[in-house]
Amino acid sequence: MNKQKAFTAMGIILSFVIAIGGWVLTSTLIDMRSDALLSASGITLMNAPDARLPESSISSTAVDDPNVEAPMLPDYAQNTDGPTLSENEIISIIKNLESPTIERLHEPSAGQITMEQAIESGQAWCSVFSESGIIPAELFNWEDMRINAYLSQRLPLDQSEQFLNPIYSYWTVTYSSVYMDTNLDINAVTGKVLKANIALHSYPQTALYPNAIKNVLVRFIDDLGLDSYDGIKTTNDIIDLSAYTLIADGEAWAVVNTTGRVATEGTYVVSNIHVYLSMQEPQLYRSYSIEGIDEIED
């Protein structure tokens, strides 16, 4: 009987030894694994869209040899050189930007413009505002601006590991100064502006006229190689002065939308300018008529 009790006691003691020893061993193993993980390294390739040729509407300046220089940017004023996008491609790009997607950054692939080119393209495009009298030229002092840019694509949620056609890539270029923040989405293949947001801070006397807005819209769609489908329309409101038109055989809209206030008779002080393309009809205020502001006729 004593032998039996001794065995039982030994067994119970052994159980507790294993319980505590096991914990010590497990703790040690966890620490060892953690140390191994915290000294690990890895290499990730810089992913980029395949350098495939976009649709045939793209001109011969598009290349797929990464060693060849990026294509020359078109002269903005002439708007005739360089790769362009077809209407179908533009429609696809608009749908991509408006659908549920996830943004993924990448390095430029062959056939896509560099950051420097994107910055220059954006700077050139912004001259339309000073030419139209919307924003004084002196506000566009690039050397005093903080400039930032990144290249990305918007990928479908269920396909976020594989890049799309290079035409869906765009440079997001930001120009910031004391007076304003300009944010442009520039197509990475053509260098054309697809969307622009300008927020004006400290220069309240910027005046805006409906014709000027129309000019901006006309230059916007011309630059993309698009035509107005049914004429340019405007709206005017105490806080909203906009121009919009159907494009691509009536499938999409091009919009220049501003917000601000009426300062003096015939003038409209703007605080935000939003230039964009959309598949949806713009929801703009149309309920008020501003005396002295001309209606825009086609």
Binding site: S15, L38, I119
Partner: protein
Amino acid sequence: MRLFAKLFICATLVICIALLVSGYLLITFSHERALSREAERAINQYQYDKFTAQAGLIANVDTFSEEFSERVLQQLSADASGLLAFFTENKTLLYSELPAQTDFIILSDVPDNSYVHQFQEVDGGSYIMVCSKLTQGNVKLYFLVATDISDVVAQKEQMAQSFVKVYFITLLLSVAVILILSAFITRPIKRVIRAAADIARGQYNERLPTKGGDEISELSKSFNIMTDAVEDKIVELEESARQKEDFVANFAHELKTPLTSVIGYADMLYQKSLPLEQVKDAASYILSEGLRLESLSLKLLDLIVLNRQDFVLEDMRSDELFENIAGSLKPLLEERKASLIPKIDPASVMVEYDLFKTLMLNLIDNATKAGGHNIKIVGSQNGSRYSVSVNDDGRGIPETELSKITEAFYMVDKSRSRKQHGAGLGLSLAAKIAKVHGSTLEFSSIEGIGTIVKLDLALGGIEDNE
């Protein structure tokens, strides 16, 4: 080691191992996933930082291309998410926000068009460093961003500490539960042990409950079956022992009558000078009784011990049978001053001679012991059977006793029976012999008048020549 202790130890070990393995897997998997997420986040953020640095270089390309401007690099670091470091194409440090003693082992291999990431401890903190080549115009640099991941490491430590608490609390609770469960599981087994002890003490009616369908229930069922078998076997053994006792008692009892004849005839030969014919008769009776005794012992063994009932009945003439019986009883009858009055209708009857003779001798012996002096034996054909009755004029048997008199060792008047060397076995044996002949003994008696005992035999095939 007791079963309870074995259960306890095994269960504790299993729980310990399960908890430890699952804790290890959970913590390491969680930590690995967290680090993997941090690496992915760091690389994504690095891409932003790299673009920002590149834009800054573009903006300052004129000043930067002349010399590596620390001021410019400092400006660039203001927008970054982590701690920056810049190196020349030759991996010379240009600018760093990391501690001076940092070992930039990540620079050892930075392939083109790739981001390299490295987990590293720096000055007591844990960081993930991401590095790649940055080219803008003629400027070629190595650009490194270090992100602090000490929170992730701290989270792992917290998990480990929580795990320890959970582990020991769970273990203690498990020990308590295991103790209770072990006692609960072994309780039915203890019940079986107690039942076995009771049966060993002779309480064969002990049975276990058999509710449920588990192994303990099956053990209980098997135990009950075993107990039934043991009980049956003991009853059988007791019966067998009783039968052996009966045999010995009956045999001793049956010895008396033949021995009385043998002694009587032997005494007669010894005492008197008899004519040769009488000497031969006497010797013949001695011989036949001796042989009958020999045969009877074997048959009694079959009848009483083996419960054999398939004795072979033989055809015999009734008158010859009863004449032989009367001859065997002559000394006994003379001793007891009784006379036998046979009235036997000749017929062929089926009998087992030795056993039937024993039956008749027992009936007649009882009749003489009851005080009968005139004992009639009547034999007559009755339909398809042959009826035999033994009538005496003895003291009779009380009616209340009639149903018991064929029980072994039962005696109506014990004191008188013992005086007459009775054991109470004769009628018990006679009843069994009657059963062998396909009959039963019927008793009718009037106290003070006498007793009639009847039985019937099967008729045989020998035809009466008369």
